[in-house]
Amino acid sequence: MRVLSAHTGSQLLYDPKDARWPDWEIVVGIEVHAQIKSRHKIFSAAQTSGYEQVPNTHVSMFDASLPGTLPRLNPRCVDLAVRTALALDSDIQTRSTFDRKHYFYSDLPAGYQITQRYNPFSKGGYLNLTQSGVSVRIEQIQLEQDTAKTAFDARRRVLSIDLNRAGSGLMEIVSKPDMRSPEEAGDYVRSLQAILRAVGSSDGNMEQGSLRCDVNVSVNRPGRPPGTRCEIKNLNSIKYMMIAISAEVFRHISLLERGETVPQETRGFHEDSHETFKLRSKENSPDYRYMPDPNIPPLVLCSEYIERIRGSMPELPAKTRIRLIKCGLSDRDVDVLMIVDSQKEVGFDGKTGGGIIAYFDELTKENDAKIVVNWDLTLSLRLTHELLGQLTRRGRMFQQNTIPATQMGELIQMVQSGSMTGDSGKELLRFLLDNPSDKPAHQLADELALLTLQDSALQILCRDVVSSSPTEVKLIRKGNMKIINKLVGKVMKKSRGRADAQATLAVLEGLIQTP
């Protein structure tokens, strides 16, 4: 049952035929584990850790499972999870509970992980894929703890445990088996990443492990029910996830075409050989002995709370796109802004902003209020592009931009009002990137002699040029109007970009008394 989301308005009818496996259909479902971007862990006061932290420095007594310690739910993690659920149109449950999942492993100091097995905090929902427009249904979203990290030093034969990650908050987002190709699976993860980053609930970084995927894959003949599924665990990049799905599809097909059955299994993936391998069969899958966690009272989320979170939600990518296009930006401009914006750093505890779109919004807002005339959107976009280009040239990310929006807004306004030429504006911009300053833009422009030449100064400059170019003047007076542009160029050069081309032309025409 394919549902194409309404906004694409697509006339495409879904064609399940895939050239890679023309006689088969595939069914894919994905479980995503996304680390919650909270400052503190989900059940303790210890700080969460990035990649760079020294091992075992962000560990509370609870994270180390010291006897006598107890969990305390971090409300910030709940806020961020609720934002995610709202963004996915998921049904947030008034009452949800926490359970313990038991297994013995050195990355699990308590011998159990706190999760939401029986009553997850949110059920249902859907995600519209950005590229294909396919709508993938969400089964449920649950809160849980992340595990510690282990590293085996084969040379010393020592297993090291780093508890920094132990007890960080995770959202497990489970999709329905609604994807039909490896590419759709990739599209799903990318679309989900964009949503998580936009609402600030996770930075969704697969390379650094803050987003991990388990995928369920099955194949079937067209018109037949889905086949036996296998789960591939711990896929750490979209590329390898797609390769793993293809590899698994081919493995299933070759089994079935030989007349064998596909056993239900949990499998891993070798990134080198591009093959999946058996971890365990259904028969010897562990019994996790789930038990309600008696230390954590049920999580009760009233509608007032949910509405408060909804009211403070950052804008979702699809909405931002529509808004920017309504402002008059082209699709291409919006694409550039959104790509740059999606690379912004996700703040802790839902702090958003700091991206280029917020910057652009601030620029336009700032100036709308100040000047009556319509804000020159094209101009601000041009200068924003210039800013991006100059940052790239300097090897900086947008986050490393040193020009605050107010200063940039003032700069744009000066160009728009003519008190500085476009060239001078760009020069001031470059200057500010290399010499950050909190002085107002007009003061700097003045100090750097970048202000547009006033009438008298322009007159003097033009007179100089006219008197030093008798040949050209003669030709112009004869009617060769093209030559006057050469004089304009001369004036511009002498002014070091401070002369306005139109104004210069007018002055020169007056001086030469063109026919």
């Binding site: 010291l66 006897p67 107890l70 038991h102 002995r289 038990m291 008696p294 230390n295």
Partner: protein, 450 residues
């Protein structure tokens, strides 16, 4: 005031071993909230008291330190102090301290109090913080107080009864206030009077099983007579689901224990058993050698005592996918029925319920029943504890587990002075948050003994 501390309540200046080889050299880096509150109020913690390993036991015989001898008996009559807070009760009975902290999961404060002839208070669940209390079964564990008399128990309780944000199951200030109002409202009619006219005492018929020893029956009968003579009304009541309490309790408590004790696996706690350990009952099979699973299995086999291992196995089974519905969930349903039994007989409404259900007018203020089926039994020779004996030990808890399952406050007071058969306690059980009420009744009983 000098106060003893059970060895499963964390102290940073003394070891906290839970009487287990697994934690034999464990020092907690922090004080439990209850210890902290005691120290802040000027009390001195004089030492750590022996207990059953991780609080599991009714006779205080499951301990790396050996059994606790009951000081209420002559030296030639070696009796159990009861468990699991046997060391705490014995320390108070022997006069080593004014009071001692214990923990009560299914009767572990009230039973030793009864055996040793001291006062034992198990407060309402959530009243005293569990931060720093080594978990046995979190949904049942309560810090309790053992004391020489009711006044001391009350004072210690008042010092410790504070909301603690570090324990998510700690009752909120609002709930405490609501409970206190309800409690005082229902004490008004009789507390200020010289007699107890207006006080309604329920006598639950299920708490007088055939196995009850004559000493226990006599103790409670004398106390009921005394209460009636003071003007209280005795009301026979029924808590029909009581017979299921013991089974439900052992399923739930063991299930939670199997979970809570999973962290003791030889990696952080206990001795990491290398494959060379040959002193074990279970020899590793060759394919297990060197696997993490073998490390856990061997370390846990070595580090835990018999009783703890038995309960972990029972609890692990109860949580397994095949048994969960029939054991764990079934036990939870029984627990709810038992809670409802109590609500049905109390005059005071349950402050933990959102909806205010009006209690029946023919309800009672509190229940009075024997604390134990018998007086302190002779200490079994540790070498000959058989399977049969341990079942006998479980039956000791039959009168105490219902209040634990319902999370209700209960206090055991010595019913008679020392006599030949030894001390025996009478329990008073009240609605959630009615500590002040049951302690007031306990004071009356205490007065009638003296």
């Amino acid at each position: 005031m000098n106060i003893g501390d059970k060895d499963n309540i964390c102290t940073k200046d003394m070891p906290t071993t839970c009487s287990s080889a697994m934690l034999a050299d464990y020092w907690s880096p922090f004080d439990a909230t209850v210890v902290d509150l005691l120290r802040q109020s000027g009390a001195g913690i004089i030492g750590k008291a022996n207990c059953d390993e991780f609080g599991m036991g009714s006779l205080n015989v499951h301990s790396i330190y050996g059994p606790v001898v009951n000081p209420a008996f002559p030296t030639d009559d070696i009796r159990s102090a009861g468990g699991s807070s046997g060391g705490s009760a014995a320390a108070v009975a022997a006069g080593l301290c004014n009071a001692a902290l214990g923990t009560d999961t299914g009767g572990s404060v009230r039973l030793p109090a009864s055996y040793c002839g001291v006062v034992g208070l198990k407060p309402s669940y959530g009243m005293l913080s569990r931060w720093g209390v080594v978990s046995f079964a979190d949904s049942l564990d309560c810090v309790g107080v053992l004391a020489k008399d009711v006044d001391i128990a009350h004072r210690v309780f008042n010092t410790l009864s504070k909301y603690d944000g570090q324990d998510s199951t700690s009752a909120s200030p609002e709930t405490r206030e609501k409970a206190q109002r309800a409690c005082e409202e229902h004490m008004q009619s009789w507390r200020s009077r010289r007699d107890l006219a207006g006080l309604r005492i329920g006598v639950p018929q299920e708490y007088f099983p055939a196995s009850l020893s004559p000493a226990s029956v006599d103790g409670v009968r004398e106390m009921l007579r005394a209460l009636r003579e003071r003007g209280a009304t005795l009301v026979p009541v029924s808590l029909p689901n009581t017979p299921y309490a013991l089974s439900a309790y052992y399923v739930l408590a063991s299930a939670e224990a199997s979970s809570n004790l999973a962290r003791y696996d030889g990696v952080q706690y206990g001795s990491y058993i290398a494959i060379t350990a040959m002193c074990l009952h279970v020899r590793p099979t060759p394919h297990q050698i060197g696997t993490p699973a073998s490390t856990y299995a061997l370390s846990r086999t070595q580090g835990f005592g018999r009783e703890v291992k038995k309960r972990i196995l029972l609890g692990t089974y109860a949580l397994s996918a095949d048994a969960f519905d029939n054991y764990f969930l079934q036990a939870q349903r029984l627990r709810n029925l038992i809670r409802q039994d109590f609500r049905d007989v109390f005059l005071v409404p349950d402050p933990l319920l959102l909806s205010h259900s009006p209690a029946s007018v023919d309800g009672v203020h509190a229940l009075v029943h024997p604390s134990a089926v018998q007086t302190a039994p002779p200490l079994p020779d540790t070498n000959v504890i058989s399977e049969g004996d341990s079942l006998g030990a479980y039956v000791q808890d039959i009168l105490t587990v219902p209040a634990s399952l319902a999370g209700l406050p209960a206090v055991s007071v010595p019913a008679r002075g020392k006599n030949k058969q030894g001390p025996v306690g009478v329990s008073i059980v009240g609605q959630w948050g009615c500590e002040a009420m049951i302690l007031e009744i306990a004071r009356v009983i205490e007065g009638s003994v003296a």
